[in-house]
């Protein structure tokens, strides 16, 4: 399975409006086939598919405006069975598909200078209503989207990363996990969910990391001059790339206590607010462990640099099909490489290994997440 996403049709394109589907679920598509028409600031553009297969499901309806990178459809590969697995790509969670804004909310957003792209709709069917706009406005004014912001952010990241590599003795471990079964489980679970509440694979990893952090508390906390301070909760920093090139890793609070659905919803909210520049200060400072996902960039494995003062960061590579030995037989399986970078002052190899093993165990029992 693969996700067919809203393509970027130009450097200045942030979002496109789906005008029409030229293919329907069940249609076979070949590389280069036109599958949809998208309206952009430049006009209507026909978009093509790059992978052969069969249209499994359409995720976006004509008329919806969605950010670049948003999954538009699920395409089933030639040898895959319908609905058997979730999309394999674990992308950086795209902003959720959200184009429904009430007229009154649009007006309010204009008056309150709220960027609707960063507002989470809690109205009927996920629509953005006045209340949502007011909530977003109260959460803080959007940071101005200027290049100085990006430059400032870049400088801050640079300082933090330099300090991290200067001060923190990094310990790196990785493990490759067979995620065929959890992804299949997720695919089934998603069939029972409305499109707007579809869970992305990242949520499984998020919850697995949270549960493992409860099991191995040594990786969850901060390091200061007095030594290790256990985290007050499991607040996972989520590395989010911003559209203008910046990077933030705001905290998703108490992930261990959230259900999968709640974690998914709150992550969407966090991502969209991060991109709209309306994060809360607590989110910027509370993280106790960080998760970064570089799988959508096509890397097999990544070894990330710890965000000080945290003591650990987990990185996820791409989910990829590999020959894998299962019960003595070679089978094609979906596997992913997880890595842990830990602060060796706070975490030793044993704890680090136990943590990664706990993540794998949690992943293998997705129904318990």
């Amino acid at each position: 399975m693969s996700e067919f996403r809203m393509p970027s049709l130009g450097a200045d394109m942030e979002a496109g409006t789906l005008v029409e589907w030229t293919k329907a679920p069940g249609d076979t598509v070949a590389r280069g086939d036109i599958v949809a028409v998208v309206d952009t600031d430049k006009g209507a553009i026909e978009i093509e598919v790059f992978e052969p297969g069969t249209i499994e499901r359409l995720l976006v309806e004509p008329g919806q405006k969605v950010p670049v990178g948003t999954a538009l459809a699920i395409i089933r590969g030639a040898n895959e069975t319908p609905g058997a697995a979730a999309p394999a790509a674990v992308g950086a969670p795209a902003a959720p598909v959200r184009t429904r804004v009430s007229p009154a909310a649009r007006k309010a957003a204009e008056q309150l200078h709220v960027d609707l792209a960063g507002v989470v709709g809690q109205g009927p069917g996920g629509a953005i209503t006045v209340a949502d706009v007011e909530r977003a406005a109260a959460a803080g004014p959007p940071a101005p989207k200027t290049s100085t912001r990006a430059a400032g952010m870049r400088a801050a990241i640079g300082a933090a990363m330099a300090r991290s590599k200067r001060e923190i003795p990094h310990l790196y471990l990785s493990t490759t996990v067979d995620v065929t079964q959890p992804l299949a489980w997720l695919g089934l679970a998603n069939q029972a969910r409305p499109v707007t509440e579809r869970l992305l694979p990242i949520v499984l990893f998020l919850k697995a990391v949270a549960n493992a952090a409860v099991e191995v508390p040594a990786v969850n906390g901060t390091w200061n001059e007095n030594g290790f301070v256990p985290g007050a909760g499991v607040h996972i920093g989520c590395a989010i790339a911003l559209r203008d090139g910046g990077l933030v890793a705001p905290a998703l609070h108490d992930v261990d206590k959230k259900s999968l659905g709640e974690a998914g919803r709150d992550l969407m909210d966090l991502v969209s607010r991060a991109r709209a520049g309306s994060l809360r200060s607590s989110e910027m400072t509370d993280a106790t462990i960080t998760l970064t996902n570089l799988g959508d960039l096509g890397v097999d494995a990544a070894y990330a640099v710890i965000y000080p003062p945290q003591v650990a960061i987990v990185a996820i590579g791409r989910v990829v099909e590999r020959p894998w030995v299962v019960a003595g037989r070679v089978e094609p399986r979906s596997v992913v490489t997880l890595s842990l970078s830990a602060d060796h002052r706070a975490v030793d190899g044993r704890q680090a290994g136990a943590f990664l093993a706990a993540v794998e165990r949690a992943l293998q029992a997705p129904e318990a997440l």
């Binding site: 009430s102 109205g123 209503t129 659905g261």
Partner: protein, 334 residues
């Protein structure tokens, strides 16, 4: 709510009192229609008036809707103040030509020389298992026609008070009386008199959703509002009272506050009065809306005879509750 002394009275008796008052106050007034005299009125509204006012002023007509409605129009043109009773709106279709092509046009096509101060009363609506030729709500059709004023009293006070005001109107006024309301009992202020027929009335105040309705649907809407209030959802219920001209200002004022609207209309959805109200909201209150406009209307089917199908065909409180809930944010998950 009345503050002074009140008395218990039915909608039917309030309507009869209004007719009696009009006959007493204005010698030009007379009542005419099928079985309004000896029989006592198909819905017993005019019971006893024949004995009181005599056959000159309480006139039984043959079954000839087109002609006696037309005659009412002519009598109004000639200086009388007729109250014409058509048994039900279903039969008024036989008189549609006179109402639409004569009553509604004379003022205009005579260049303003003549007015038609006729009042035409008729029963409307379903709810008594009278099946497909006696149970339709066609007032929305007539509200389509310029030159007519359409009112539908839903309360005892309006049943008592609208007729006199209608008789003072220099133009044709159609009064629709929902047949399930005749037995409605209520407290009428002792000093009840004429009421205006220009404005809608807010029958229940609330800040969450505006429910727009009229006639017998008012009571179903209020029942739905009570159910919703138990969940903390406060409906503002507007009784239109006058279907033409529509008092949009009252609606706009409410919608500006609630930003959500459900229209409850016993007429059919397609091309009905609810469609007109929704269109006007879309035209003039678009930026006040925080949710799509909801409509609860009758199923697109002639009204069936069996009770369970009749109930399913016309709007019920539960459907109104559902329609309102759909306009609100989903409750936070536990």
């Amino acid at each position: 709510m009345a503050n002074g002394p009140t008395r218990r009275i039915t909608y039917r008796d309030a309507m009869r009192e209004a007719i009696r008052e009009a006959l007493t106050r204005d010698p030009r007034v007379f009542l005419m229609g099928e079985d309004v005299g000896r029989y006592g009125g198909a819905y017993a509204v005019s019971k006893g008036l024949l004995a009181e006012f005599g056959p000159e002023r309480i006139r039984d007509t043959p079954l000839s809707e087109s002609t006696f409605v037309g005659a009412g129009i002519g009598a109004a043109l000639g200086g009388s103040r007729p109250i014409v009773e058509v048994m039900t709106v279903n039969f008024s279709l036989l008189a549609l030509d006179q109402i639409v092509n004569t009553a509604a046009t004379i003022r205009h096509m005579s260049g303003g020389q003549f007015s038609v101060p006729v009042v035409i009363r008729m029963a409307t609506g379903a709810g008594r298992q009278l099946a497909a030729q006696h149970a339709h709500s066609l007032e929305g059709w007539l509200a389509h026609v310029p030159g007519l004023r359409i009112v539908e009293p839903a309360t005892i006070e309006d049943a008592r008070g609208m007729l006199w005001t209608a008789l003072q109107d220099p133009d044709p006024v159609l009064i629709f009386e929902h047949q399930t309301l005749y037995n409605l009992e209520g407290d009428l202020p002792a000093d009840a008199g004429p009421v205006d027929i220009d404005r809608a009335v807010v029958r229940r105040h609330g800040g969450d959703v505006t429910v727009i309705t009229y006639g017998a649907m008012l009571y179903k809407s209020l029942a739905a509002a009570a159910t919703l209030a138990a969940d903390g959802v406060e409906c503002e219920v507007i009784d239109l009272r006058t279907l033409r001209p529509l008092d949009m200002n009252t609606i706009f004022e409410s919608v500006r506050r609630t930003r959500r609207v459900a229209i409850v209309d016993e007429g059919w959805r397609s091309g009905g009065l609810s469609a007109e109200i929704a269109a006007r909201l879309a035209e003039s209150a678009f930026y006040d809306l925080d949710a799509p406009i909801a409509r609860v209307c009758s199923a697109e089917v002639p009204i069936p005879y069996p009770k369970h199908l009749e109930d399913a065909a016309v709007p019920q409180a539960a459907a109104i509750v559902d329609a309102v809930r759909a306009l609100l944010p989903a409750p936070a998950p536990r």
